[in-house]
């Protein structure tokens, strides 16, 4: 495994950073929030990202994608993370698109993947419940068979882009007890299916998420995604890969708030001196720099290991997410602190990074959860 960007990746990174700088500054995300935008991201920009080839990076060529790897996609996600771009990579590409690619039938792939790659269709996965915390096996939503159809009932929380998705992939229990890994099945359900209600939720980071309630939602056998009762396995693998993508976004976020903080240390004066001359702040900045460097190595390694299917990929992903969670939060906390009062204001961007750090920390398992998983994998 070579922990260095290829020439193509260097180019991709440069394009992405230029794009973000001109087309997607943080002010864009702020404007979406201020306007309480009903979509929560920009469809125009999403189309542009599709035209640039980013949306299709992970999608196989047969369905209009580029069939590249996570190691390529993370480069783009890091750039977007720098300015907190809210476009639906997590929901549509890393979760929905990947589930379809890994487990979908030929018919399902034909029906959805080309539309996703072109930036026209939005897809999401409804897996989280009020009491499931970070465990994908804790599924209370039920699916029962009734004369050739499946009937689903239950509630899913904070479903990414749930209110705009054309379809949702829902995890539901078809057998077993509430925490069993076996007996979970995935269903691909169009959003306009009767009985499915989607309510927008407001979260601290202002990403578009929704409460999804399923009240006797009736779907045909053709909406099963993957094997009956075997949804946990597939979902775990896809969430693991999606975690790498999220970590890349977090890396971008922590790098940007750190850059902003450094910039402040070099411009703000107190006691007749730049505050960056104070050693108490210098040393904290230097330590933060090191932590971010280690986070970067972990993300690069996890992406490459996942692409290659290395045997230690799961533990590298837990490494990246545990470190990413801790370090993004640290960078955001230090960012607010070192900005003083201005860092506490809504007018300043530091708070956006803090809020996103907290949400990202609690998406796909927090640091403690991933350390515990690492310990289990290593028999500690």
């Amino acid at each position: 495994m070579e922990l260095v960007l290829s020439e193509d990746q260097e180019l991709l990174a440069k394009t992405a950073i230029d794009f973000v700088r001109t087309r997607s500054p943080v002010s864009r995300m702020r404007a979406l929030r201020d306007a309480q935008d009903p979509i929560g991201f920009s469809r125009t920009l999403w189309k542009e990202m599709a035209e640039l080839g980013w949306v299709g990076i992970l999608i196989p060529e047969a369905y209009g994608g580029a069939n590249m790897g996570l190691a390529d996609l993370v480069v783009v996600l890091e750039a977007l993370g720098r300015t907190l771009a809210p476009e639906p990579f997590l929901s549509t590409i890393l979760l929905g698109g990947q589930l379809l690619t890994q487990a979908g039938s030929e018919e399902q792939k034909q029906a959805w993947l080309p539309g996703i790659a072109s930036g026209d269709k939005i897809l999401t996965v409804a897996y989280q419940e009020a009491r499931s915390r970070y465990d994908l096996n804790r599924v209370a939503t039920k699916a029962e068979q009734q004369s050739g159809s499946w009937v689903l009932s239950g509630e899913k929380i904070q479903v990414l882009d749930g209110h705009t998705a054309d379809a949702l992939i829902v995890s539901a229990r078809t057998a077993g007890g509430q925490n069993d890994q076996d007996g979970i099945t995935l269903f691909l359900i169009p959003r306009d299916t009767p009985g499915l209600t989607v309510t927008r939720q407001q979260r601290i980071d202002d990403r578009a998420v929704a409460l999804v309630s399923l009240d006797s939602v009736k779907v045909g056998a053709g909406s099963l995604l993957g094997p009956l009762g075997g949804g946990f396995e597939i979902l775990s693998q896809v969430v693991d890969r999606a975690t790498v993508g999220l970590c890349a976004e977090m890396l971008g976020g922590m790098s940007q708030i750190f850059d902003d903080t450094l910039n402040y240390l070099k411009t703000r004066q107190q006691f007749g001196a730049l505050i960056g001359t104070f050693q108490a702040l210098k040393h904290r900045a230097a330590r933060l720099f090191m932590e971010i460097e280690l986070a970067r190595s972990s993300v690069m390694a996890a992406a490459r290991a996942a692409d290659a299917g290395d045997k230690d990929w799961e533990s590298l992903i837990s490494l990246a997410k545990a470190r990413g969670s801790d370090t993004f939060l640290l960078a955001a906390n230090e960012g607010v602190q070192m900005h003083g009062g201005i860092g506490m204001t809504d007018e300043h961007d530091a708070g956006f990074y803090l809020k996103r750090a907290r949400v990202a920390e609690m998406t796909f398992g927090d640091a403690a959860w991933h350390r515990e998983r690492w310990a289990t994998l290593h028999k500690y």
Binding site: M1, E2, L3, V4, L262, L265, K266, L274, G276, T277, Q279, K282, H283, A285, A286, R287, F289, M290, E293, L294, A295, R296, S297, S298, M300, A301, S318, L319, A322, R323, R371, E372, W374, A375, T376, H378, K379, Y380
Partner: protein, 396 residues
């Protein structure tokens, strides 16, 4: 790539043909390695034989130019050599400040005569070097050093005192910093010079550490005559050379302590001997969390070292990373040593004598010794200053 694979196959064959069987599987840590020099002793004569075959190929200094007796390998080939040595569990044939500090510095700043005179002796392990930087009044503020060198004809006459000189009593030569212009601003009156330790007027006195061993000395210099041709780079421009060497030193310390090379035992193995397990898991959840946190940080650090190495291989310019690796690597080693002691519990409290195993006693001494890791080679605080200034561009 094909060439590299061919090189790998040849290297593997050559190593297994030429490494004496008795040294296989004896991967040693830095402190225990073969430091060479006139005063070297070889309890296992095969270690000397191993040094000789490797030195004959220049593989004690794989990346140095062949014209001075080095291996002339590319970075990629040198990595193959390291990997193959690790796979066969072969110890480094030679370690020390010659290979890691003064050698690379002479390659950059030495005259042709100096390279000819010193490099091959380093490669063969004939001469052992020590570092005369620190003085009683000049540690972190190294540039305030007072040891005087006055030119008299073809010689400098040197008077002063060095301190914390690691292994001065076992070394044959010293590279050191002396003040040649006391009137100039402190960074501009310093000269970097090479001195034979056998010169009249050099006296070393070992100092005992908290760990009980005496790896360093006070070095007294009284009217020592050193040929003027032993000045490296230019007179009064020694600070430039000094900084370059410190960079090599930090890299050496970081790789020795942080990367986990040469480890015979994981902390997991150690825990299995001392603490209770419930099934496969460590029963004490607090200890488990500490161990996990350490292992994960160590892995992230290793990946970062790998990344820096891959970037160098790809021809990207080095950042000022050596300070980061120095801080993080040494702190990891300290955490590791403390953790090993916590795992062993009261068995980690022995100094010597009965009731303690050899391994426990040496681990305890290693823990004590590790406290010096964040001091030697420039303290962590000084490294943080360097990162703040050189990497982050924060104002003075």
């Amino acid at each position: 790539m094909a060439d590299l694979e061919k090189f790998r196959a040849e290297t593997r064959r050559w190593l297994s043909d030429n490494a004496p069987p008795s040294i296989k599987g004896t991967t040693l840590g830095l402190g225990e390695g073969n430091w060479g020099g006139r005063k070297a002793t070889y309890p296992n004569p095969d270690m000397k034989a191993w040094l000789n075959v490797m030195a004959a190929r220049g593989w004690t200094a794989p990346e140095w130019p062949a014209q001075y007796g080095g291996g002339g390998l590319s970075k990629a080939e040198a990595k193959v050599l390291r990997d193959e040595m690790a796979a066969l569990k072969l110890p480094a044939p030679l370690v020390g400040f010659g290979l890691t500090m003064i050698g690379p510095t002479l390659l950059e700043y030495g005259t042709e005569d100096q390279k000819q005179e010193h490099l091959s002796k380093i490669i063969r392990g004939d001469i052992r070097w020590c570092q005369g930087y620190s003085e009683p009044g000049s540690g972190s503020d190294l540039a305030s050093l007072q040891t005087r060198a006055v030119l008299q004809g073809d010689y400098y006459v040197i008077n002063g005192q060095k301190i914390w000189t690691s292994y001065a009593n076992y070394s044959d030569w010293m590279f050191m910093l002396v003040r040649t212009d006391p009137q100039a601003p402190k960074h501009e009156g310093i000269t970097f010079i090479l001195m034979d330790m056998a010169s009249p007027g050099v006296e070393t006195r070992p100092i005992k550490l908290i760990s009980g061993s005496s790896p360093f000395c006070e070095t007294f210099l009284t009217d020592v005559q050193v040929p003027a041709k032993n000045v490296v780079f230019k007179v009064n421009h020694g600070w430039t050379v000094a900084k370059a060497l410190l960079n090599h030193e930090r890299t050496m310390i970081a790789s020795a302590f942080g990367s986990g090379t040469g480890r015979r035992q994981t902390i997991g193995d150690y825990a299995r001997k001392y603490v209770d397990f419930e099934g496969e898991r460590i029963a004490d959840t607090t200890l488990r969390t500490r161990m996990t946190q350490y292992e994960m940080d160590a892995l992230a650090f290793k990946l970062t070292s790998d990344r820096a190495r891959d970037a160098a291989k790809a021809g990207l310019p080095p950042g000022s990373e050596s300070s980061m690796f120095k801080i993080y690597g040494t702190e990891l080693n300290q955490r590791r040593q403390e953790l090993l002691g916590s795992i062993a519990g009261p068995q980690a409290l022995g100094w010597e004598g009965s009731g303690f195993e050899e391994q426990e006693l040496s681990q305890t001494r290693d823990w004590l010794r590790s406290r010096g890791n964040t001091i030697e080679g420039g303290t962590s605080e000084v490294q943080l200053n360097i990162i703040a200034k050189r990497v982050l561009g924060l104002p003075d």
